[in-house]
C-alpha cells in the first residue's frame, strides 16, 4: 500500500507544454510548409522567364528595410523581457518601436513595388519573374500586415491599461509569430535578392 502515496505525489508535479506555445508552433510549422512551396516555385523558375525584365535589371537589395525588420525581432524580444519583469513603460516603448519598424518595412515594400510597377513595368502578369516575385514577397508582406494588426491591437490595449504582467505569456506567444515572420524574411531575402539576382 505504501506505493500509492508515492504514485500520487508523482503527479503533483504534472507539467505539460503550454497550450499557446503548442498551438503557435503548430501554426508556424504549417505556415513554413506554405512558404516552402512558394520558395520552391521561385527557385525553380529562376532564369526561366521568356521575356524581360530580369531580376538583375530591376531589383535593388533592400538593405534599410531588411535591417528594420530584423531589428524588430530584437525590440519585441526586449518588450517580452520587460513585461515579464513588469516594466510596463519599457514594454510599451519597445512594443511601439516594433510596430514602427514593421511599418517601415511595409512602407519600403510599397515603395519598391511602386517603382517596379510604374518605372520598370514589372507586374505580376509580365513574366514568370513577376509572377513568382510578387507572390512570394506579397505572401510575406501579407503576413507582416497580419502581424502588425495583432501587434497594434495589443498596443492599443496597452495604452488603455488592459495589458498587464499576467499577460506576459500571451504576449510571448504572439511574439513567436512575429519572430517567425522575421525568420521567413531571411529565406525570402536570400532567395530573391541574393540567389535569384
Amino acid at each position: 500500500m505504501a506505493t500509492i502515496p508515492v504514485v500520487q505525489n508523482k503527479y503533483e508535479e504534472w507539467r505539460l507544454p503550454s497550450r499557446g506555445a503548442s498551438g503557435m508552433i503548430s501554426l508556424i510549422i504549417g505556415e513554413t510548409a506554405l512558404f516552402s512551396m512558394f520558395v520552391l516555385a521561385y527557385i525553380f523558375y529562376i532564369g526561366k522567364s521568356v521575356s524581360g525584365p530580369q531580376p538583375a535589371q530591376v531589383l535593388d537589395i533592400p538593405v534599410f528595410m531588411t535591417i528594420c525588420l530584423w531589428s524588430s525581432s530584437l525590440t519585441i524580444w526586449i518588450a517580452e523581457r520587460a513585461i515579464e519583469h513588469n516594466r510596463m513603460k519599457q514594454f510599451t516603448f519597445f512594443w511601439g518601436l516594433t510596430i514602427v519598424l514593421g511599418g517601415i518595412f511595409l512602407g519600403g515594400t510599397a515603395l519598391e513595388w511602386h517603382r517596379l510597377i510604374y518605372h520598370d513595368g514589372l507586374t505580376i502578369s509580365t513574366n514568370l519573374f513577376g509572377t513568382t516575385f510578387y507572390s512570394l514577397v506579397g505572401l510575406h508582406a501579407s503576413h507582416v500586415v497580419v502581424g502588425l494588426i495583432m501587434l497594434t491591437a495589443v498596443f492599443i490595449f496597452t495604452l488603455t491599461g488592459h495589458v498587464q504582467q499576467k499577460h506576459a505569456y500571451n504576449i510571448k506567444t504572439l511574439a513567436l509569430y512575429w519572430h517567425f515572420v522575421d525568420a521567413v524574411w531571411v529565406v525570402v531575402f536570400t532567395v530573391v535578392y541574393i540567389l535569384g539576382r
Binding site: Y11, L16, A33
Partner: protein
C-alpha cells in the same frame, strides 16, 4: 486494496442530466453556437455522412454509365463533373471531416480533458469546412445558372494543369474547386492545430505520451502530417488563382511555366493525404481490436513508432504518382524505394493487430467484424500498392482501372470499413443507445459482398487496359462483363448503406440503453456517462496505466504493475 480505485476517483460519478425543456429554436441555436467538442464532433460526422450520401449517388451514376458499353445514361459533360465531384467530395468533405469529427469527439474524452485546447477555434474550423463544402456544391447551380449541369468542377480531383488554366477552362469550374478547398483547408488546418495542442497540453494527470490511447496518438500524428500536407495544396491553389485571375504564369507553359510543377505540388499534398485518411482508421482499429479480442494491444510502443514512421516516410513518396511523366532514373528509383519502404511500418502494424487477436477471446460484434474485414482488405490494398510502386508495372497500368481499384481498396476497404466500425463502437457513447446488432450484421455482410463485387472485379478491366475517367467504351474490349458486375456491387453497397441509415434512425428512437460502458472497454471515454455531460468529467481523472478502466475494474491485477 480499495485505495487503488483512487486514480479515477469521481470520474464514474453519474451526474444528473439537464432536463430543462427547450423550444425548437433554442435547440437549433444551441447547435449553431456550440463550442462543445462533442457537439462539434457530431456536427462534423453528420455533415460528412450527408456528403457521403451525395458522393455515393454520384458514384452510382458513374457506375450506371459504365455498366454497359456505348452507354449514354449521362452526358459526357455531366460525367466529367460526376467523377471530379465524387473524388473531391469523398476526400475533402467526407473522409477528413468524419475522421476529424471522431477525433473531436473522442480525443478529449480519451485523454481525460474537458474540451479541446481551443473550443472557439474548433467551432470556427467546423463552420469553415462546412462553408467550403456548400460553396463547392453551389457550383452545380452557380455560374451559368440553374439549367444544364452548372459549372461544377470537371477536370478530375487532381486538377492537372494546364487544363485548369484560363485558356482551357473558361468559366468558373476550377475556381469553385480551388476556393472551396482553400476555405475548407483553413478549417482543416485549424482543427489539426487544435488536436495537436489538445494532445500535447491537455492530458490528464498521469497520462504520459506513452500511456495515451492509440487513437489519440494516431490523431496527433495525423494532425502533424496535416500541417505540412494541406498547406502545400493551399499554396498550389493560390498559385492557380493567381494564374487565372491576375494573369500569372506559374503553370502557363507558353510563358515558361511548368505543368509538371503542379503535379509535384499536388502530390506533395496528395500522397500524404492518403495517410491523413488512413492513419485515423488505423487508430480506430487499434482501439476496437483489443477490446473485442479481450486483450491489451500487442506491441504498443512498436505501434506508436510505426505510426510516426509512416508519417515521416509518407512525406517522401509523392512522385510515385508521376512515374509516366518522364523523371530521371535516379529520381524514379528513389521514389520506388521510398514507396516500398512504407510497407515496413505498415507490415509491423498488421502483425501487431494479428498478434493482438491471436489467443484472444474474440467477440464477433459488428465493430469487430468491420475491423476484421479491414485487416484482410488493407493487406490486399497494400499488396497492390507494392505492385504499383514498381515503376515498370506502373508504366503499364498508370491511370488504369487497376489504380482505381487499388485506391478504392484503401479508401473503402480500409477507411470506410473502419469508419463504420467506429460508428458502431462509439455510437452508444455519443447517444446513449446501442445500434441494432442484427441490422448491423446485415449492413456488414451486404457491404462486404458489395465491396468485393465492385472492387475485386475492378482490377481485371484495369489489367485489360481500361483507363480511368473514360466516358464509355466499345463492346469488343471485353470490359463489359466486369463493369456490369461492378455496377451490381455498387448497388449492393448502396443497399447496405440504406440499412445502416435505417439502423441509425431506428436505434436513436428505440435502441437498447447503452449504459456507460457497453463493450467493457478500457479507455477513459467509457468512464463518463453516455452521452457525456458538457464538462465530460466531474473530477479530473488521474491514470496510472494505458488501460485506466482495467485498473479500476481489476484492482487485484492492475496494469501499472507491468508498465
Amino acid at each position: 486494496m480499495a485505495d487503488q480505485t483512487l486514480p479515477i476517483g469521481g470520474a464514474l460519478d453519474i451526474t444528473p442530466q439537464k432536463a430543462t425543456k427547450q423550444s425548437f429554436f433554442e435547440w437549433l441555436s444551441e447547435w449553431f453556437i456550440t463550442v462543445d467538442h462533442k457537439k462539434l464532433g457530431i456536427l462534423y460526422i453528420s455533415y460528412a455522412l450527408v456528403f457521403m450520401l451525395v458522393a455515393g449517388v454520384e458514384a452510382l451514376m458513374i457506375r450506371v454509365q459504365l455498366a454497359v458499353p456505348n452507354n449514354d445514361f449521362v452526358s459526357p459533360q455531366l460525367y466529367d463533373r460526376l467523377f471530379t465531384m465524387h473524388g473531391t467530395t469523398m476526400v475533402f468533405l467526407v473522409g477528413m471531416p468524419i475522421l476529424f469529427g471522431f477525433a473531436n469527439y473522442i480525443v478529449p474524452l480519451q485523454i481525460g480533458a474537458r474540451d479541446m485546447a481551443y473550443p472557439r477555434l474548433n467551432a470556427f474550423s467546423f463552420w469553415l469546412t462546412a462553408f467550403g463544402g456548400l460553396l463547392l456544391y453551389y457550383s452545380f447551380i452557380g455560374g451559368f445558372g440553374l439549367y444544364g449541369v452548372g459549372t461544377a468542377p470537371d477536370m478530375g480531383w487532381f486538377a492537372y494543369a494546364p487544363l485548369t488554366e484560363k485558356a482551357f477552362s473558361p468559366g468558373h469550374a476550377p475556381d469553385y474547386w480551388a476556393i472551396a478547398l482553400i476555405i475548407s483547408g483553413w478549417g482543416t488546418l485549424g482543427t489539426a492545430i487544435n488536436i495537436i495542442a489538445t494532445t500535447i497540453s491537455m492530458r490528464c494527470k498521469g497520462m504520459t505520451l506513452m500511456r495515451m490511447p492509440l487513437f489519440s496518438w494516431l490523431m496527433l500524428v495525423v494532425s502533424g502530417l496535416t500541417l505540412v500536407t494541406i498547406t502545400p495544396l493551399t499554396a498550389a491553389q493560390i498559385m492557380l488563382m493567381i494564374d487565372r485571375y491576375l494573369g500569372g504564369h506559374f503553370f502557363d507553359t507558353q510563358a515558361g511555366g511548368s505543368a509538371v510543377m503542379w503535379m509535384h505540388f499536388f502530390w506533395i499534398f496528395g500522397h500524404p493525404e492518403v495517410y491523413v485518411l488512413v492513419l485515423p482508421a488505423f487508430g480506430i482499429a487499434s482501439e476496437i481490436i483489443p477490446v473485442f479480442s479481450r486483450k491489451g494491444i500487442f506491441g504498443y510502443a512498436a505501434m506508436v513508432a510505426a505510426s510516426v514512421g509512416i508519417g515521416f516516410v509518407s512525406l517522401g513518396v509523392w512522385a510515385h504518382h508521376m512515374f509516366t511523366v518522364g523523371m530521371s532514373t535516379p529520381t524514379t528509383t528513389f521514389f520506388v524505394l521510398s514507396t516500398m519502404l512504407v510497407g515496413i511500418p505498415t507490415g509491423i502494424k498488421i502483425f501487431n493487430w494479428l498478434a493482438t487477436i491471436w489467443g484472444g477471446k474474440i467477440v464477433f460484434a459488428t465493430p469487430m467484424l468491420f475491423c476484421l474485414a479491414f485487416l484482410f482488405q488493407f493487406l490486399i490494398a497494400g499488396l497492390t500498392g507494392i505492385m504499383l510502386s514498381a515503376a515498370p508495372w506502373d508504366w503499364q497500368l498508370h491511370n488504369s482501372y487497376f489504380v482505381v481499384a487499388h485506391f478504392h481498396y484503401v479508401l473503402v476497404g480500409a477507411i470506410v470499413f473502419n469508419i463504420f466500425a467506429a460508428i458502431y463502437y462509439w455510437f452508444p457513447k455519443a447517444t446513449g443507445k446501442m445500434l441494432s446488432e442484427t441490422l448491423g450484421k446485415w449492413h456488414f455482410w451486404l457491404f462486404l459482398i458489395g465491396f468485393h463485387l465492385t472492387f475485386d472485379f475492378m482490377h481485371i478491366p484495369g489489367i485489360l487496359g481500361m483507363p480511368r475517367h473514360i466516358y464509355t467504351y466499345m463492346p469488343d474490349r471485353g470490359w463489359g462483363i466486369w463493369n456490369f458486375i461492378e455496377t451490381i456491387g455498387a448497388f449492393v453497397q448502396a443497399i447496405a448503406v440504406l440499412v445502416f441509415l435505417y439502423n441509425v434512425v431506428i436505434s436513436l428512437m428505440k435502441g437498447k440503453e447503452a449504459g456507460n460502458d457497453p463493450w467493457d472497454a478500457w479507455t477513459l471515454e467509457w468512464a463518463t456517462p453516455s452521452p457525456p455531460p458538457a464538462y465530460n468529467f466531474a473530477t479530473d481523472p488521474v491514470v496510472n496505466s494505458r488501460r485506466p478502466l482495467w485498473d479500476l475494474k481489476h484492482p487485484e491485477d492492475p496494469d501499472w504493475k507491468y508498465e
